[in-house]
């Protein structure tokens, strides 16, 4: 049965008209779905009994509780949700002094096959619907205290751009959760058609997984470079007017002896010349049997200083939730994936 939660106001309007209900019912339903805490369609008390029965005939509410939660010694939590039959996703909640950031997944698994990422190891199972994405925010224990939301969990958001844009609409619209777009960051490896749609149809911040400025090295780390080279991604970013409020940042996982040398600092400065941006350096959290190692703290610090001297505002991201595999690049539900029939 179709789910109500996750429908945009436009979709709800089309739906109520199709069901021969008054147009204003769409706003009433949105209000119940996104402004109030209900657990059944029956609780939509300002909608007539007859219309509630019609809704129940066609839809389920679709707000789904998490299945499991683990807590790290640093307070980070990792939530497990069931997405579709035999498919599971993970969501991280990272508390900080004044912030609570939710890291949501946009796909079950991932197609991108980045060498350093645990999610890629499980292959791709499914795209998440907008409802399944928003539900990861709405159904965690801390949801009312969440200050920031990042699309940095499992999956590549721009490979599921339609549902990601719908989820952003629900999160940022007045009829939805009314979150400020400035509190939401969508992170991508740079799928250009999705990037363009995101830039044109959302006001949320953008983060790009860069990891090396050199084409040949990036191809070895990230197969997407074969199709959408980072230089072309940067060109798209340069051509777009981000205005004063919207921010673009780059993520850079530090791999020992691979992308942490002085020539990388120089090339990054060349590549990002003219882009108003920030750089986040990330410690590599090794995954099993990986040929990559993390750079030392000293190297990361020197790299940061080097980039700052070149005028690129650079910070080092704290590692959080590593003990429960909730840290960057470690989310995976591989063990829960129903073994699919391989084609090889």
């Amino acid at each position: 049965m179709e789910l109500l939660f996750g429908k945009t106001l436009t979709e709800l309007t089309e739906m109520v008209l199709e069901l021969k209900m008054p147009k204003f019912t769409a706003k009433q339903i949105a209000n119940w779905l996104y402004h109030k805490q209900i657990s059944s369609i029956d609780e939509m008390s300002n909608i007539s009994q007859k219309n509630r029965e019609i809704l129940k005939e066609h839809f389920e509410l679709g707000i789904l509780p998490y299945l499991k939660v683990q807590e790290s010694i640093d307070g980070t939590k990792k939530y497990l949700f069931k997405a579709k039959t035999n498919q599971f996703i993970e969501t991280a909640m990272i508390p900080d002094t004044e912030r609570k950031t939710v890291c949501v997944s946009s796909q079950v698994g991932c197609k991108m096959g980045c060498l350093f990422c645990m999610t890629g190891r499980q292959g791709f199972q499914a795209n998440l619907s907008a409802g399944e994405i928003v539900n990861q925010y709405r159904s965690i224990d801390e949801w009312e205290k969440v200050t920031n939301l990042v699309y940095m969990g499992m999956g590549e958001p721009f490979d599921n751009i339609d549902e990601v844009l719908k989820s952003l609409d629900i999160l940022t619209s007045d009829w939805g959760y009314g979150l400020s777009p400035k509190r939401i960051t969508v992170s991508s490896i740079g799928i250009i058609p999705g990037l363009k749609l995101f830039l044109e149809n959302s006001k949320c911040h953008l983060a790009i997984s860069l990891h090396t400025p050199f084409d040949t090295e990036r191809k070895n780390l990230m197969p997407v470079e074969q199709v959408y080279p980072i230089q072309e991604v940067i060109n798209e970013i340069k051509a777009f007017d981000f205005g004063l409020q919207r921010r673009v940042s780059f993520e850079y996982i530090m791999f020992k002896g691979v992308n942490d040398k002085p020539e990388h600092v120089k090339q990054l400065a060349r590549l990002l010349n003219g882009v108003k941006c920030r750089m986040n350096l990330i410690r590599f959290h090794p995954i099993p049997d990986s040929p990559l190692l993390g750079s030392s703290d000293k190297t990361i610090e020197e790299f940061k200083e080097g980039l700052n001297k070149k005028g690129i505002i650079t910070t080092i991201r704290s590692s959080r939730g590593q003990d429960i595999f909730a840290a960057c690049g470690l989310l995976s539900t591989k063990e829960l994936v129903k073994q699919q029939e391989k084609d090889y």
Binding site: G109, C110, K111, M112, G113, L115, G120, R121, Q122, G123, F124, E156, D159, I191, I192, P193, K196, D215, K219, N220, P223, V224, E225, Q226, V227, P229, D289, P291, L292, Q340, E341, K342, D343, Y344
Partner: protein, 213 residues
Amino acid sequence: MNKLSKVKINSHKLISEGVYLIKFPRYFNFIPGQIIGLTNNTEIAPRLYSICSSDSDSNIGILYQVKDDGVLTPSLEKNKVGDELWITQVQGKFVFDNKPAWWIATGTGIAPFYSMFKSGLKPLKLVQGARQIKQFYFKNELVEIGDYVPCCSQEKEEGVYEGRLTTYIKEFEKLPTNINYYLCGSAEMVVDVRNLLIEKGVNFNNIITEIYF
């Protein structure tokens, strides 16, 4: 996506169950291994496909598999010779530098290697994985490579390795580490084979991958 150009289908053949080779005239150059965006409706964003024809062929060939839940392929399947398609410019860097290499593919991931082979390029070895014999597209031509190893996980046939391609690779005590390995197929296959090659001592810098998405 870059600017779209209109072309007319001049050949559309079912080559195996649910798999088609569609062709349209070529009016541009490309490097074997490159991809092109294709759609039959300007309302549907072009999907990327590896070119599956020689760089000297007067047509561009695209090998595609119909996905029941796909956005494009269920309608593309219904297109006939003479129907219009919209294509993007060619792009992509999954190109072969003619240095010693193995090519490893599954499913329609054979397309870039077929293009390379038909353009006069050859690997040391081509390993192709499939569940069924009928899924070894272009097998009759690819045998000309010489060291061509079709690996079939569900059916048996003379000259076909019985088992998954990962099993075939695992059986090597030592793999050559001074050559390149080109992989093309689903994310799961590429990630599995890449991990296996790394486990067997191949440097990740020698593994060149192309994933469908």
